[in-house]
Amino acid sequence: MHEPSAQYKKRLLRIKVNGRWREDAVADGCMLVDYLRDTAGLTGVKTGCDGGECGACTVLLDGLPVLACVTLAVRCEGRSVETIEGLAAQGRPSRLQQAFHEKLGAQCGYCTPGMVMASEALLRRNPTPTDDEIRAALAGNLCRCTGYVKIIESVKAVAGLAP
């Protein structure tokens, strides 16, 4: 078996995070989730299964939902990443976040940032999704409190409303 190289090689990563460009030294083997949490301080991004199964680490990469736990940070050079922290404006939650709050879409809350980001991607592409379209868009996000009905109601509550 090939021996891993002895040292972490770092390189300068230029990346747009929640609308602002930053430059950071990042190891080649660093995952996007660890970069966002540990370097950028955006702990709204959650590590769940750490293996691409649960969707808790979902962020938007150039507007599309991706799993930050299986995406290398260096692959995001020159690209735009959005996390849950980017949705609030002037400290006020977005309509979608407010809906998750009001409709009890969050129970323990651990899956919530991933659920919200996957929903956000859906609503930007399709502002008036049906229940089935919401379910399909959230198929990659697991909630172990099994609060799926309330989550779908939360997304429905903002469907068709201006952001």
Binding site: M1, P4, G29, M31, G52, E53, G55, R75
Partner: protein, 261 residues
């Protein structure tokens, strides 16, 4: 994650030259979790993300060519695919979940040859050609068992060519959690020739169901498969379904695929 180095290849030639004992990185949704579990520990990854030669979908009227780094979501949404082989766009739209479809690639899926993946069944049923940096390989020769293909070390898939069919359809009974195929059956008809490929079930990976092919060649309808069974020996059994259950599902999914074709 352990330490490894990453090289963003700029061309197919650069990728093949620089891979050495490392691995090619396509969508990363299989390789990266595998590395996290230390089931593979390459010291070097060659990233194919920026290789323009590996992107794009085209059709010449008889053969649909999908370059290796095409994402599942791109195949699903492609008007070219929808016109040429509509069942293939539908198959891509049924892979995994949105996060997976936005990153996963056809080349990565075919190279990995996961026994429960969807694309290998389509390649085998449609008689696809797997194009690499050095040669062209017929799907019949390409898939050689669990996670095993005809690819040599350092050989890179550049495109998959799908000849058009009169009819093509893929029916999948998916695991509700992983959305992988518990059993998936792809059916393609070209004139009197019919090919049926089964994924998710074979203990040696994707395979052709030749008994069903000959029944369908003379009568391309779901009822032609009435009474036809496949033995459970040689099929996978696990906590999700016994080999006998999978054998039954193969018949059911084959009929659904024919009915939808």
């Amino acid at each position: 994650m352990y330490a490894f180095t990453h090289h963003a290849a700029t061309s197919v030639a650069d990728a093949v030259k620089s891979v050495g004992e490392g691995k090619f990185l396509a969508g990363g949704h299989t390789l990266i979790p595998t590395m996290k579990q230390r089931l593979a520990q390459p010291g070097h990854l060659v990233d194919l993300n920026k290789v323009a030669e590996l992107k794009g979908i085209s059709d010449n009227g008889s053969v649909l060519t999908i370059k290796a780094m095409s994402r599942h979501a791109e195949v699903e949404a492609s008007d070219v695919v929808r016109r040429a082989v509509p069942g293939l766009a539908a198959l891509a739209g049924g892979i995994g979940d949105p996060q997976v479809r936005h990153r996963g690639t056809i080349g990565g899926s075919v190279a990995n040859n996961d026994p429960v993946a969807d694309y290998p069944a389509a390649c085998l049923a449609l008689g696809a050609t797997i194009v690499t940096d050095r040669r062209r390989i017929a799907a019949d020769d390409f898939f050689q068992g669990l996670f095993t293909t005809a690819l040599e070390d350092g050989e890179l898939i550049t495109a998959i060519e799908f000849p058009h069919a009169d009819k093509f359809s893929y029916a999948k009974f998916r695991n509700p959690a992983s959305r992988y195929a518990l059993v998936g059956v792809a059916v393609a008809r070209r004139g009197a020739q019919v090919r049926v490929a089964v994924t998710g079930a074979g203990s040696d990976g994707v395979f052709r169901w030749t008994d069903a092919e000959s029944k369908l060649a003379s009568n391309f309808s779901a009822s032609a498969l009435d009474g036809l069974t496949i033995p459970a020996s040689g099929l996978n059994g696990d906590i999700h379904g016994s080999a006998e259950y999978r054998a039954h599902l193969i018949g059911v999914m084959a009929k659904r695929a024919v009915a939808a074709a």
